[in-house]
């Protein structure tokens, strides 16, 4: 699940309905049943165990003074199973002549059930009667009444009623755990989140079995994006009652766990809460039709399900079905006029679908309808930031934070602003970049030309100039990157995110991947997103970005031939229409990596079979809202199904061309950095740990079985290398390399072959294999450096420059590559480049600042920058006044002798 977006106030009521807490009078009845305990006590125990049917029957047996509480218990138990008809009926039967005031507890339960099935006016009438008819109505009645009034848009009245409940507590008249939890709920509804938190804590301490309080507490945490504490609360409930539906739904909201929802619906098929949560989950996974079914079911059970209506309205608005949107909005307004949460949900949906401008409009509308809807400010602020409107975004986040400091997302995002204040702002012709001082010194010299190259190349290619300047934020801290991107500190393996006008990146300093490829990839998103007004589906946007990696540099991009063969063999290739679910439904990094790869293959297929122009035409299709099949029809004159068939045939042909056998016992390579990092071949790595003799025998048997078993040749080669049987090792490794020369996993045949050459004392052969290695592999710093050193030594400056650049792409923060580049600059007489390199080296130097300063001063001198030369060398001489080389540079800098 991307981001929990829930109408928790609504959930709160649900939770309240479904909870079970029997007050202390449970012990008052003398009637003993079965185990010798009172029906109330036994009913409570059965409820706690999740035996709802038995609990309902047992509660019904309560009589005498316990009668009313027994009815309440039975109604709740029935409701927990989804039998709301019976839950209403049993309560109604108990209340004689609709004299609600005389049966406050039963009436309140009746009202809660009625509200949950969309009869809010009836519920309101019941609660109103109880509150008006009692001098001191029960706390629960007051809070449920206040909650309902707020839901119906009668905020002032709601506040007065809720205040009464809180006042009761302040007067020392609320003791029972259930009532304390209700006061907590009242505080929450009154935006006193701190008090609510404390009161939930008090309620659960007073009665650890108050599951309703625990769930409500979890809901409060979840509303504030505090997933860890929310999960803890739900888990505590499930530890006691594993069949507690609201807790199961809560867990699903925290972790997007479909199984929890399946279980919840198995227990209570009529749980509106579970149904609408399931619907949201299906929508995230692009299973719109199934989602619609769930929302229909939810609305059938509760026509006033605000969440269902707001999500459906959001989908209608998203797909520009204006009439449908208006109808749904009117329907929500009919019972909860101008509900800010309805509009907030729509804003959130638009934001999650990268339509930030629309999200901003809806967030503003939500705030207009209720200026005290603090979540609205967070939604507005976070979406403004994604549009690059930093100042206004921050101002709104601050309003949200001042009034709701518990909202983790708001406070996280504001903390990132504190980090950004320490960052430098750098600008090129088309880009504005925020980065740390360290990155500004070391990365910027290489980032700036790359960005402008990307702009020039890709805008010309796609005939589209995005709105600029494009804002890029490079974060040193992964958590800052995550918060800036999605508001929360953990977003898994992502290393860069594009929002259309804004790109967020993890600094290459904390990354093990090719940062230049990532930048290129993300900038391509800027183009495709802006070309389609951010309406590009993820699979296509990612597919094009990955495809453009390879177009940018021949060694960028992804060569996952083995994975492709494996996926084809296991029939795991997705239908083109399901490609988005490859991303949203990925269970692990390998799945996610393959989703990128298959999306890339589709783009490759389009360009190869239909031409690049068709790709651009296809992108343009997404600028307007229409049926997916129509897009394929218009561009390719094919139905989606026909297009997919053609793609599958093309894939089959490609698999045949690769012509490699993939054994079922080998696991897929696992890549870091969202596919941009090293892909580890764990089978080959483990080969080093195996027993040599048995592994050799096994791999030989595999090769015997199939000569095209790439992994068997590779692993056998590794074992033989370990045994120093270099000739045999080379045979198998060369066989593997010839079989799949584009293999980029680690270790690869070329890598091991280079190691063999090194061991054999054959540096030329070693370099030859490293060159082979780097044709496809982009993550190897050391190999690139070795090749660059060799090229520089032999005077092949073009080649030296190429490999130096390759090393910088992997790690620009290591001094070795800059020392080499400075040497290169000196040798080729590029004084300006020398200055750049010595400037970077100065930042990287920790042991010898005097030498670094003097080198830089010399470079300045050679570049005719006499003042800079003098300044730099004065710093050096301040530390080492007698350092002769520096003294000479000083004298040259003042005499103007820069030759």
């Amino acid at each position: 699940m991307n981001k929990p977006s829930v109408n928790l106030r609504k959930f709160a009521l649900f939770s309240a309905v479904s909870g079970v807490v029997i007050t202390s009078s449970v012990y008052s009845q003398e009637l003993q049943i079965g185990t010798g305990e009172s029906p109330l006590f036994e009913g409570e125990q059965l409820m706690l165990n999740g035996s709802y049917a038995a609990a309902a029957d047992t509660f019904r047996m309560a009589d005498g003074l316990d009668r009313n509480e027994g009815i309440v218990g039975a109604s709740r138990a029935l409701f927990m199973m989804g039998n709301s008809v019976e839950a209403v009926s049993i309560a109604e039967q108990e209340i004689e002549d609709e004299d609600y005031a005389s049966f406050p507890l039963v009436s309140t339960q009746l009202a809660e059930v009625k509200r949950s099935i969309g009869h809010s006016e009836e519920a309101l009438a019941i609660l109103s009667t109880v509150v008006d008819g009692q001098l001191e109505p029960p706390v629960r009645t007051l809070v449920q009444y206040g909650s309902l009034l707020e839901f119906l848009g009668r905020k002032t009245e709601a506040k007065n009623v809720l205040d009464r409940a809180v006042q009761r507590y302040n007067n020392g008249l609320v003791f029972a755990s259930e009532d304390v939890a209700m006061v907590a709920l009242a505080s929450w509804l009154l935006d006193n989140f701190h008090d609510a938190n404390s009161l939930f804590s008090e309620a659960t301490r007073a009665n650890p079995n108050n599951l309703e309080a625990q769930v409500l507490w979890g809901d409060l945490f979840l509303e504030k994006y505090n997933a860890n504490d929310a999960q803890r609360s739900y888990q505590e409930v499930l530890d006691i009652n594993s069949r507690h539906v609201p807790a199961l739904v809560g867990m699903a909201k925290v972790g997007g766990d479909e199984r929890s929802l399946t279980r919840a619906l198995a227990i209570n098929p009529n749980s509106v809460l579970a149904l609408e949560t399931y619907g949201q989950l299906l929508l995230i996974n692009n299973r719109e039709e199934e989602a619609q079914e769930y929302f229909d079911r939810a609305l059938n059970l509760n026509p006033q399900s605000l969440k269902s209506l707001s999500i459906l309205a959001a989908q209608a608005a998203l797909n520009q079905r204006q009439e449908e949107y208006e109808r749904l909005k009117a329907r929500a307004d009919s019972f909860s006029p101008d509900n800010p949460e309805f509009l907030g949900d729509i804003a959130d949906t638009f934001g999650n679908n990268y339509l930030f401008s629309e999200a901003v409009e809806f967030a503003r509308a939500a705030i207009d309808s209720d200026p005290e809807y603090w979540q609205g400010y967070t939604l507005l602020g976070s979406n403004l930031i994604r549009l690059g409107e930093e100042e206004e975004g921050k101002a709104n986040l601050e309003i949200g934070f001042e009034n709701d400091p518990f909202n983790v997302m708001t406070s996280n995002m504001l903390k990132v602003f504190d980090t950004l204040e320490t960052y430098s702002t750098l600008e090129s012709e088309h880009f504005k970049v925020y980065m740390s001082g360290n990155d500004a010194d070391i990365l910027w010299p290489y980032l700036e030309p790359l960005l402008e190259e990307g702009w020039n190349t890709l805008t010309a290619k796609y005939g589209f100039e995005p709105e600029g300047p494009v804002l890029i934020e490079v974060f040193e801290n992964t958590a800052d990157f995550a918060v800036r991107s999605v508001g929360l500190p953990d977003i898994g393996p992502l290393v860069g995110i594009c929002f259309g006008k804004v790109i967020t990146l993890i600094s290459p300093d904390t990354l093990a991947a090719n940062w230049q490829e990532i930048v290129w990839h993300e900038f391509m998103h800027v183009i495709t997103l802006q070309m389609t007004n951010n309406r590009m589906p993820r699979w296509l946007s990612e597919g094009i970005s990955v495809w453009e990696e390879r177009e940018g540099r021949p060694y960028w991009g992804r060569s996952q031939g083995l994975d492709l063969v494996r996926a084809a063999k296991e029939e795991k290739l997705l239908h083109v229409k399901d490609l988005n679910s490859g991303f949203s439904g990925a269970r692990n990094n390998a799945d996610l990596g393959f989703a990128y790869f298959q999306s890339y293959l589709v783009v490759d297929y389009i360009t190869e079979e239909y031409g690049f122009e068709k790709l651009v035409e296809f992108i343009d299709q997404y600028a307007v809202v229409k049926e997916e099949s129509d897009r394929f029809n218009e561009v390719f004159q094919l139905s989606l199904e026909q297009f997919n068939n053609g793609f599958q045939r093309w894939i089959n042909h490609r698999v045949e061309e690769i012509n490699v056998y993939v054994h079922s016992e080998d696991v897929p390579d696992e890549g870091e950095g969202h596919g941009h990092g090293i892909r580890e071949n764990s089978s080959a790595i483990l080969a080093e740990l195996y027993n040599n003799a048995s592994l050799k025998q096994h791999m030989r048997a595999r090769i015997e079985e199939n000569q095209r078993d790439f992994q068997a040749h590779l692993q056998l080669g590794i074992v033989l290398f370990k045994e120093e049987d270099f000739e045999q090792a080379k045979f198998h490794l060369i066989t593997a390399n010839d079989m799949l020369p584009s293999y980029t996993g680690y270790p690869s045949p070329a890598l091991v072959l280079s190691q063999i050459s090194e061991r054999e004392g054959n540096p030329q052969e070693q370099l030859k294999w490293l060159e082979v290695l780097l044709k496809n592999l982009q993550h190897d710093y050391e190999s690139a450096l070795l090749l660059a050193e060799d090229a520089l030594k032999s005077g092949n400056f073009e080649r030296a420059d190429y490999y130096i650049d390759r090393a910088i792409q992997v790690d620009p923060y290591r001094s070795g590559v800059h020392e080499l580049k400075a040497q290169y600059a000196d040798v080729v007489g590029d004084a300006e480049l020398a200055v750049t390199e010595y400037e970077v080296l100065l930042k990287l130097e920790i042991n010898d600042p005097v030498e670094a300063r003097t080198d830089l001063a010399e470079a300045y001198l050679n570049n005719g920058q006499l003042d800079e030369a003098k300044e730099s060398v004065l710093y050096a001489l301040e530390i080492a006044p007698s350092y002769r080389r520096a003294q000479e540079v000083l004298l040259q800098s003042i005499s103007g002798d820069g030759s």
């Binding site: 042991n847 001489l877 301040e878 006044p881 002769r884 520096a886 003294q887």
Partner: protein, 382 residues
């Protein structure tokens, strides 16, 4: 001479000025230069009696490598101790007589046992220190390196040796016999902080690889401290010598970089104390409280730079040293100046030094050339 005096008076108080002038007179008389590299006026007073570093100063090193369990640790400690021994002998003019190596139980199966002078136990330490005490002269410098494990906190902090461990206060008691010598202690053990604080004292340089008792994992500081000495890697000011401050700075920076590269939170933060307050500065270059003694506490002995110079070169050499000293003094008072004034003054001193150095080198070169020519002529004539 008048010009010289005036310049010095511009920077240092009269009382000290007289002392310095007297020193200079002595220098001129004996052609022995005593380096007084002082960063601050007040610091000058504090450091005047310590680490005078004359060419005749005797330098002694005591390396104590305690016992350990586990082959990896044992190898590492042995490697550090032996490397340190070899570097001191190779690069800094120490001999096996001036280095005392107390290692574990006094023997090892590995090569290099010949370097070991005794066991790192209480008896070995007491005996070797007593022997050393009988050999040293007033003003000699003794540098003690502790390698191995430490434990405990504050006064209970111990250096793990063979047999009962030794506490900081016990060890401090053993060092009392070196009242007339300059002492440097480099404590690179785990949990070294408490032990090191006990050794703090006026005129002593104490380096600890950890800053608090909670830092109790084996530090890697020792590795980089030794690396700083190796090939004079730590020589920051390019005078071809390594001071304790330079070695400390080198090791500290590299330890920080190591932890950063490993992506780990640093479990050690080295500190240095040389003003006797037992408060360790983590950044003595910036923090003016410590560092002034460590800056002039060199590992090797000074070389007599005047011997062999011809009469024309001597005043130039003297002038170079005078300018260098003025630069150090100005640098030490940086905070008393406006930034622009400071750099203006610094620039003029540095330019003058560069010019004078050039003249000096030219003179030496010319005289060498003449010498070569004479020799060549002589050979030709023969």
């Amino acid at each position: 001479m008048n010009i010289l005096k005036k310049k010095i008076e511009g920077f240092i108080p009269e009382r000290l000025c007289i002392a310095v002038i007297n020193n200079l007179l002595q220098i001129l008389a004996s052609f022995i230069f005593i380096t007084i590299v002082n960063a601050q006026t007040s610091a000058l007073e504090e450091t005047a009696d310590y680490f005078l570093d004359s060419p005749g100063t005797g330098k002694f090193a005591v390396i104590m490598a305690g016992p350990t369990v586990g082959e990896a640790n044992q190898t590492q400690f042995r490697q550090w101790a032996f490397s340190l021994h070899d570097i001191l002998a190779r690069d800094y003019g120490y001999t096996s007589d001036s280095i005392t190596l107390l290692y574990d139980k006094g023997k090892t199966d590995s090569p290099g046992e010949g370097r070991i002078d005794g066991a790192c136990d209480r008896k070995g330490i007491e005996e070797e220190l007593a022997t050393l005490s009988s050999r040293v002269n007033t003003g000699d410098q003794i540098t003690i390196y502790l390698i191995g494990h430490g434990s405990g906190a504050e006064e209970e902090a111990k250096f793990n040796i063979v047999g009962p461990d030794i506490t900081g206060s016990e060890f401090a008691g053993m060092l009392d016999q070196f009242k007339d010598q300059d002492i440097v202690i480099v404590n690179t053990t785990s949990a070294s902080y408490g032990f090191s604080t006990s050794l703090s004292g006026e005129g002593r340089v104490v380096i600890s690889s950890t800053r608090s008792p909670s830092e109790r994992y084996d530090p890697i500081f020792s590795r980089y401290f030794i690396e700083a000495l190796d090939n004079r890697n730590g020589d920051r000011d390019k005078n071809n010598r390594v001071s304790m401050l330079e070695a400390f700075e080198y090791a500290k920076s590299n330890v920080e970089a190591w932890y950063e590269e490993q992506g780990r939170l640093a479990s050690e933060h080295a500190g240095l104390d040389d003003n006797g307050d037992a408060l360790f500065s983590l950044n003595p270059i910036v923090d003016a409280a410590d560092g002034r003694l460590a800056e002039i506490a060199y590992i090797d002995s000074a070389v007599d730079e005047f011997s062999g110079l011809n009469p024309q070169a001597r005043p130039l050499k003297f002038h170079m040293q005078e300018l260098e000293r003025d630069i150090f003094i100005l640098r030490g008072r940086k905070q008393d100046f406006l930034e622009s004034d400071y750099w203006q003054e610094m620039e003029s001193l540095l330019i003058e030094l560069a010019i004078v150095t050039g003249q000096f080198e030219e003179l030496i070169r010319d005289s060498n050339d003449r010498l070569d020519t004479n020799l060549t002529n002589g050979q030709t004539n023969e």
